[in-house]
């Protein structure tokens, strides 16, 4: 079957329109899931649909270098078009609000789990006679303070040495 650039363009246009519907459904006012935000979620359905369309085309037409070049060109335009659509949608207050809500739900679900896990870990470490996270953090804080004291000492020694070398007025 001979496929003309016009047919290819028509397929590409149809594909963008169909994908736009998928994207619209994604932004429907259903309550967002309490899962961490995954960027792939936003373009995966669109990509899958595009790949299906092109797979159909290549099944019907031999993959000549010209067709491949056209395919690359159309794909670039397709990505660019989608980048603009996504950019416009994600740059809205509605999207920001939706994302904020989704993230809040994720944190609300994670908070108690994390707290419980931390408590259990602390207890397990205590039972094993190992230092807890807070104890290690306290030691790290002491090391930083020691480092600062050493640096201050170093500065003073440098200043004294510079005086001996005559680089600095007494």
């Amino acid at each position: 079957m001979e496929t003309t650039p016009n047919q290819l363009f028509e397929m590409w246009r149809k594909q963008v329109e169909e994908s736009a519907q998928v994207w619209k459904r994604l932004l429907s006012p259903e309550p967002p899931a309490a899962t961490p935000p995954d960027p792939a979620v936003f373009w995966r359905p669109v990509l899958d649909q595009g790949l299906q369309t092109w797979a159909k085309l290549f099944a019907q037409t031999p993959a000549t270098p010209e067709l491949l070049a056209q395919w690359k060109q159309f794909l670039d335009q397709w990505i660019e078009a989608w980048s603009k659509i996504l950019g416009q949608t994600m740059g809205t207050e509605q999207f920001a609000k939706l994302m904020g809500q989704s993230f809040d739900q994720f944190l609300a679900a994670l908070g108690p789990l994390r707290k419980a896990a931390e408590q259990q870990t602390e207890q397990a470490l205590q039972a094993l006679g190992l230092p807890s996270r807070s104890q290690v953090t306290a030691v790290a804080k002491q090391i930083v303070e020691l480092e600062e004291r050493l640096e201050r000492l170093e500065d003073r020694i440098d200043a004294v040495l510079r005086r001996f070398d005559g680089k600095e007025p007494k």
Binding site: P39, L75, S83, L86, G87, G100, F103
Partner: protein
């Protein structure tokens, strides 16, 4: 930052035997280094370069919108997560331009037999995808003071007990924005020019995005010759 940077400056001057420093800040390093220069007049800074560093966060684009107080409760995030995992930082950046990975992979596939392209891709891609975790308190201050309250631009920022006044920067300043930068759009970078007290100041807008401004073939052609030329003149 308030403890380490002054010492770093001191050590660089000592070890290089130089009398003055040239300071270059890229991305979030730019508002931080500008704050450092503004609050440490005792450090001899010869000249300062801001590469794609946001200053007016009211013009910072989509990140500014997502991180608005109404939608993003930074205290809740930090109090729940502690530090901010690298994967979460990565997810945020990927979400700003969701088609980026797709076009990058497509172009790689298309140029798979072009050794120069593959070599360049490998060098850049690894660096561009190596995200680091944010310490919680740093993230809290970064989001609240810079993104949500725009304190640096409004002259209300305080660091290490010192008020940050960008007009205290009087050395020659060179500000570089990238035309297609969606992380630090040119308008929010350019704002530094109007705030510094320097007489000798210049803004240029170069082709490229946030990363391609400083890395890759385009950077070698557009950005670095301009920056090194400006440094040689100042």
């Amino acid at each position: 930052m308030t403890k380490i940077l002054p010492r770093m400056a001191q050590k660089v001057l000592q070890s290089s035997d130089a009398r003055e420093l040239s300071v270059l800040g890229y991305c979030m390093g730019a508002p931080m280094s500008a704050s450092f220069i503004a609050t440490h007049p005792e450090v001899p800074v010869k000249n300062y370069i801001d590469l794609a560093g946001p200053v007016d966060f009211s013009k910072v684009g989509v990140f500014g919108l997502w991180l608005k107080k109404e939608y993003f409760n930074v205290d809740r995030v930090v109090d729940t997560l502690g530090s901010i995992p690298a994967d979460l930082v990565k997810a945020g950046f990927k979400l700003v331009k969701p088609t980026m990975d797709l076009s990058t992979s497509l172009n790689l596939w298309w140029n798979l037999w072009n050794d120069n392209y593959v070599e360049g891709f490998q060098a850049l891609n690894r660096w561009a995808n190596e995200y680091v975790a944010f310490p919680g308190e740093f993230f809290r201050q970064w989001v609240r003071d810079f993104y949500q309250e725009n304190k640096l631009y409004r002259g209300e920022l305080v660091m290490g007990g010192r008020p940050v006044r960008l007009e205290n920067i009087t050395c020659p300043v060179y500000v570089v924005g990238a035309k297609e930068d969606y992380i630090a759009p040119p308008a929010c970078v350019r704002a530094l020019i109007d705030l510094v007290g320097s007489r000798d100041k210049e803004y240029v807008e170069l082709p490229g995005g946030h990363i391609s401004l400083i890395a890759g073939r385009g950077a070698a052609r557009h950005c670095w010759p301009k920056v090194s030329g400006w440094l040689a003149r100042h």
